[in-house]
């Protein structure tokens, strides 16, 4: 479990309740025009309710007012609930933050206690074992292991050395670090994250602004329809309309469902990003992730597990596989690199060994000059393994062509060949290969269906790159990558109008991260990379980019689905309210023919529509918080499915719902 997925405990519910009512404040409500109209309507019906005390209409007026009031409460509850979920995460983070004291280093090398809030950029602090790192910064002295579980949820400690960045709120486990503070108070990642998940720094995203504009115009249209309906209906008689019913009609027609849930959708979207342990610097970045056309991924660490693995020993003629394996094993015994260890593991398999053999000799470490490593055994044998060209130089000429042929075969399939020789006699080749992470191919297939192109970036030669690209199922690759290649590729894609996402951690990635539309920086990365990106993955898992894209898409789909549903619902409401509201007008009473739901009484019909309109809000809160079901599929298929689910069913469901509510009201003598 990760730190971010903490669930809310009961103490938050009181806060939700309090916020639900606090948000009724008209000053705050006016920012949501749809619900503001409902609030004004409620006040109007309340006045009419008070005015009708003692009259026959009192019960109806009162019920309408109550239902309207609950409609607003459901809306403010949805928002408060979404915020509370964010606050639960934020509070957890804040607890780690508040208790921090820092050992600030003075010019003379001594230190003094200061509160972490007093630390400003450029100050140096001493961090000793069990100290909490007081603020974000960069290690300037020392090496130490840091427990980052409060931020990432990952319990394995991380080694931090000079030049690495550290995050405020994490804890040093061993050794001693001097950290130069790189942020001012209130601007650390923790602060940003708290502000973000709480919704405090939430700004409307471009799409949210556009949707709000549309909802505003729709509200205006329905306001127009209802207001002009008053004189139009009075053409048939002076008492053809009553105000309470007109308010009820208006509230039913304006898009209250999406209006009530719009901000909850946005807040919940940010929380879903936070739940995968990604800090987005803005909601805009998350939304942009949904629009991504091209993703550029590093091969090493992202597509393949960090290192190459030995997969095969290939002997030259007249040499047995076991001989190669044994020589390779002996040469690699003291090689602690992952590649070396993988050679040992493979040799143990081939030779059916239970334990490692005990040998005496002197290890020859790898050097850039010789480009080989090995062992000088006590019995005088000298075993070497290394790059083909290096081994060829020191071994007899007769096996050279064969060795080179084997090496070519390995390289041709995207592997890396290593040669093994003993006392100048070439034995054969070790095949080292990149291993593609499991499950990635399926993910890339998903992306292809969604129209997103994946590009792999690697420093390998073209053949190796092509083979891995094929194996991983990416659409394209950049081989023999030079530092400037990434940014060039991004610019080229962008010049075609595409949106590009990438991940990166090194300082040399920073320009590309800044250039990309979505730049996901690794938390283990350098400060420069983190500053350049617009999202930071706290777990430093580059495949997270895929999750963020999903969240971005789901966010847009949820908004579209609930808007469509909201508008589609209106059809049934008309059929409930129009016949009912004119039932008492002589010429227009024939409109009862439009009462196709067979609602029993006019007031019951109007109340049923209004109650349905209110209840649909809490019913859809789970969709707003979790997002509507999302599958990776082509646009057409997804569109057809969503249109059916939210458009077609959006027309049908309220007919059934309103009819059902009318029956229930009938049981209580209200319809």
């Amino acid at each position: 479990m990760t730190a971010m997925s903490h669930t809310m405990d009961s103490s938050y519910f009181m806060q939700v309740l309090k916020d639900t009512f606090a948000k009724l404040n008209p000053v705050e409500m006016v920012r949501n025009p749809v619900m503001f109209v409902v609030e004004i309507g409620t006040v109007v019906t309340l006045i009419f309710t008070i005015g009708s005390i003692g009259k026959a209409a009192f019960q109806y007026e009162l019920l309408v007012t109550i239902v309207l009031f609950f409609t607003i409460l459901f809306a403010t509850f949805a928002e408060s609930y979404a915020e509370a979920r964010g606050r639960a995460q934020a509070d957890f983070l804040r607890r780690t933050k508040s208790s921090t004291r820092a050992k600030r280093l003075k010019g003379d090398g001594a230190w003094e206690w200061v509160s972490s809030e007093e630390l400003t950029m450029g100050m140096r602090v001493l961090v000793e074992p069990d100290d909490v790192i007081p603020s974000d910064g960069e290690v300037v002295e020392g090496v130490g292991s840091v427990d980052e579980s409060t931020i990432t949820g990952e319990s394995a400690p991380v080694i931090k050395a000079t030049g690495d960045s550290v995050t405020g709120g994490t804890r040093l486990l061993s050794d001693q670090l001097v950290v130069r503070i790189t942020t001012n108070p209130g601007q650390t990642f923790l602060d940003r994250m708290i502000a973000l998940v709480e919704g405090a720094s939430r700004q409307k995203t471009p799409n949210e602004i556009a949707l709000s504009a549309l909802l505003g115009v729709l509200t205006l249209i329905f306001l127009l329809v209802v207001v002009t309906l008053v004189p139009q209906a009075r053409y048939y008689g002076p008492h053809a309309t009553d105000t309470t019913t007109m308010v009820a009609l208006l509230v039913c027609l304006i898009p209250t469902t999406i209006g009530a849930l719009l901000s909850a959708i946005g807040i919940a979207g940010m929380n879903r990003v936070a739940q995968v342990d990604v800090v987005a610097k803005s909601g805009r970045a998350v939304e942009a992730a949904g629009d991504i056309d091209t993703i550029i991924l590093d091969k090493t660490g992202t597509i393949t597990i960090g290192n190459r693995m030995a997969t095969e020993f290939m002997p030259v003629t007249s040499v047995r596989v076991e001989e190669v394996a044994e020589a390779a094993l002996l040469a690699s015994l003291s090689d602690s690199t992952p590649e070396g260890r993988s050679v040992v593991e493979l040799a143990k398999d081939v030779l059916h060994l239970e334990a490692l053999p005990l040998v005496e000799g002197e290890a020859v470490p790898f050097s850039a000059h010789t480009r080989m490593s090995g062992i000088d055994l006590a019995d005088g044998r000298q075993i070497r393994k290394g790059a083909i060209s290096a081994i060829v130089e020191i071994s007899s000429a007769e096996k050279r062509p064969e060795l080179e042929k084997l090496a070519e075969a390995v390289a041709g399939e995207g592997g890396t060949p290593l040669a093994v020789e003993i006392d100048g006699r070439a034995l054969g080749v070790i095949r080292l290969k990149d291993i593609v992470k499991s499950g990635l191919k399926e993910r890339f297939d998903d992306f292809r269906r969604m129209g997103i192109r994946t590009v792999m970036a690697t420093g390998d030669n073209r053949i190796t790159a092509a083979v891995i690209a094929q194996e991983a199922g990416v659409d394209d690759f950049i081989a023999e990558l030079k530092p400037e290649d990434k940014i060039e590729t991004i610019k080229r894609e962008q010049s075609e109008g595409k949106l590009v996402a990438m991940t990166g951690d090194g300082t040399n990635d920073a320009p590309a991260l800044a250039q990309a539309d979505v730049g996901l920086a690794m938390n283990t990365g350098t400060m420069a990379a983190k500053e350049a990106g617009n999202m930071i993955d706290l777990e430093s898992n580059p495949t997270k980019l895929l999750d963020v894209v999903m969240v971005g898409k789901q966010l847009l789909i949820t908004r579209g689905a609930l808007t469509t549903f909201s508008i589609a619902n209106d059809v049934a409401k008309y059929f409930a309210i129009i016949p009912a509201m004119f039932a008492a007008v002589p010429t227009l009473s024939v409109l009862s023919k439009l009462n196709i739901m067979g609602l029993k009484t006019p007031h019951g019909a109007i109340l049923s529509a209004l109650i349905f309109n209110a209840l649909i809000i809490p019913a859809l809160i789970p969709f707003a918080i979790r997002g509507v079901t999302y599958r990776a599929e082509a646009a057409d298929k997804m569109l057809a499915r969503n249109i059916f689910n939210w458009g077609v069913l959006g027309i049908v469901i309220p007919f059934v719902g309103i009819w059902g509510i009318d029956r229930v009201l009938g049981l209580f003598g209200l319809a």
Partner: protein, 564 residues
């Protein structure tokens, strides 16, 4: 359904289907300044016009400049037309010695013809001199549909990533290359069918019964041609195309139906050619086409089945029909009325007032939608406005910021499109509410109940949709209606176009996003279905209450044998 009816509809739909591609491509060539077969004879004329007015054909305009040029030019014509109507008594070609037109009628007529509405609060044969007919009003019948065409052309250019062009050049080309050649052909066809074309005085005829009858005539054939080709719809005489001199035969009726639809339908294809999105054009044509047929069915079937009250009396048969022009039969009348309402022409071949409520409901629907091909060019703009709104709402459901033709639809675009959408219901609903609330408006209601309500609603809607037909029964010659409807036509014509121009320019400025399998396609059956669905639902939600108060109430009352 009689064989004649089937034949009429097959011919009408067939002609539209056959002509839309060559005509649409031709229009696209003209406005992409590619060579066409009319270059040789017409270019000297056009260049003469450009020189005369000091137009630089190579200077392109911004959205604002194009819009302002368009609106100012129109206003100049309206003022000119008003002045000429007021001076009618002093002007030549006035064999009947018609006096000056009164101020509010002159205002109403000038605005109405100057906005391609052609609402007529007068009867032509008793009010207008021949000069006013062919020199003033017919001039407007040429240039105002040309303006409508330029609106669409400028918009399409921006959509296809080009500059918006020069309004004056487009205006001249629209007249010389599109309207004039077609008018000549159809005027000759009209003359062939017996429509008069003369500058002579009205005829005084001694009838068989011994009395004397005055038969108004004039340059009618040329008038009929441009009246319908330009989806104008202002009749030479009061009875419009129900007057046997304006529309004498079933064949002339068919010609007029075809003339009305020819250009509005072809413009949809022009969109496809100029943007390179022919498949999208076919999708939009199919959506509008199916709506055209649906409206046709709503017009035809009540007409054919007859009045339930009369049917209940046991009086069956052809002569007991109401709201049908017997010369053309139910099929021919339905084809004419469906077209005149769908293409917002507004000429009539039967009395709309006598139509049954469901038929009237169809007339209303066509004007509310205003995009079932709609007026020349303008209907296309309305369709694209709803495409933008649909793409925005539905496009979200594919999980990307909605795109149309590779351009992202964001706050500015969706605001402009929805404001343009809001304008039409605003004019109709507020105009109707005012008219039924004010004593001045109620004075014009000659029928009680829902029919009276529908008459007011129809008049206002006809103005807002720039249709120009009337349900009748309304005292449209009252100063209140002359002024109100005059103002509504002007706002309805120009306000939403300005919003659409700004929308087009905003799209033009955006960088283009390449389509992928994750992009919502704005073509094909799925999109067509979604577009049709949202067009119908959005309009139904806006206009359901007024339809309930008008035609729907009347329909149910009629079924209960309650008449007004």
């Amino acid at each position: 359904m009689s064989l004649q009816t089937v034949a009429v509809w097959v011919v009408v739909v067939g002609v539209f289907l056959v002509t839309l591609k060559p005509l649409g491509t031709y229009i696209a060539s003209v406005f992409s300044f590619e060579p066409t077969f009319l270059d040789k004879p017409l270019r000297p004329l056009e260049h003469g016009v450009f020189r005369m007015f000091g137009i630089d054909p190579s200077a392109s305009m911004t959205a604002r400049q194009y819009g302002v040029a368009l609106i100012l030019t129109n206003f100049a014509w309206i003022v000119l037309s008003y002045v000429l109507l007021r001076l009618q008594g002093q002007l030549p070609f006035n064999p009947q010695h018609m006096p000056a037109v009164n101020p509010q009628l002159a205002f109403n007529t000038a605005t109405s013809f100057g906005t391609n509405t052609n609402w007529q609060a007068y009867s032509g044969e008793n009010t207008m001199s021949l000069f006013s007919q062919f020199g003033n009003l017919e001039f407007l019948q040429f240039v105002t549909p040309a303006v409508g065409g330029t609106m669409a052309i400028a918009f399409i250019r921006a959509l296809s990533g080009k500059k918006m062009g020069n309004f004056f050049v487009d205006l001249v080309l629209m007249c010389t290359r599109v309207l004039l050649p077609l008018s000549v052909v159809f005027a000759i066809l009209m003359v062939w069918q017996g429509v008069p074309e003369t500058l002579g005085a009205y005829l005084h005829i001694h009838t068989i019964t011994g009395s004397t009858q005055v038969v108004p005539r004039g340059p009618m054939a040329s008038w009929e041609a441009i009246e319908h080709l330009g989806t104008n719809g202002g009749g030479f005489t009061n009875a419009n195309s129900a007057n046997p001199l304006e529309n004498p035969t079933a064949l002339s009726n068919l010609f007029q139906v075809i003339m009305m639809g020819l250009l509005p339908v072809a413009f949809f294809y022009t969109l496809g050619v100029m943007t390179g999105k022919r498949k999208m054009a076919w999708t939009l044509i199919s959506v509008a086409g199916l709506m055209y047929l649906a409206i046709g069915a709503m017009v035809y079937f009540p007409m054919e089945l007859g009045d339930p009250v009369i049917n209940a009396l046991g009086l069956h048969g052809h002569i007991y029909r109401v709201g049908t022009e017997l010369v053309f039969g139910t099929g021919g009348t339905a084809a004419f009325e469906t077209s005149t309402m769908s293409f917002t022409t507004g000429s009539v071949a039967s009395a709309h007032d006598s139509a049954l409520p469901i038929t009237q409901l169809a007339y209303f629907s066509a004007m509310f939608l205003n995009l079932v091909f709609g007026g020349k060019g303008v209907g296309l703009l309305n369709m694209l406005m709803l495409v933008v709104i649909t793409v925005f709402i539905m496009g979200l459901m594919v999980g990307r910021t909605p795109e149309f033709l590779g351009k992202k639809i964001e706050a500015r675009e969706v605001s402009l499109a929805s404001i343009a959408f809001l304008l039409h219901p605003f004019l109709i609903l507020v105009g109707t509410a005012l008219s039924v609330a004010l004593p001045a408006g109620l004075k014009g209601v000659f029928n009680p109940g829902p029919q009276g309500f529908a008459e007011i609603l129809y008049g206002i809607t006809s103005g807002a949709a720039n249709n120009g037909s009337a349900l009748g029964g309304l005292g449209a010659a009252l100063p209140y209606y002359e002024v109100t409807i005059g103002i509504i036509t002007v706002i309805g014509r120009f306000a939403s176009v300005m919003a659409m121009f700004l929308l087009a320019e905003s799209l033009l400025k955006k960088r283009s996003v390449p389509a992928s399998s994750g992009t919502m396609r704005t073509e094909g059956i799925l999109f067509g279905g979604i577009l049709a669905g949202s067009v119908v639902v959005l309009n139904a939600l806006t206009f359901f209450p007024v339809m309930a108060l008008g035609p729907l109430a009347e329909h149910y009352l009629l079924l209960a044998h309650h008449l007004f």
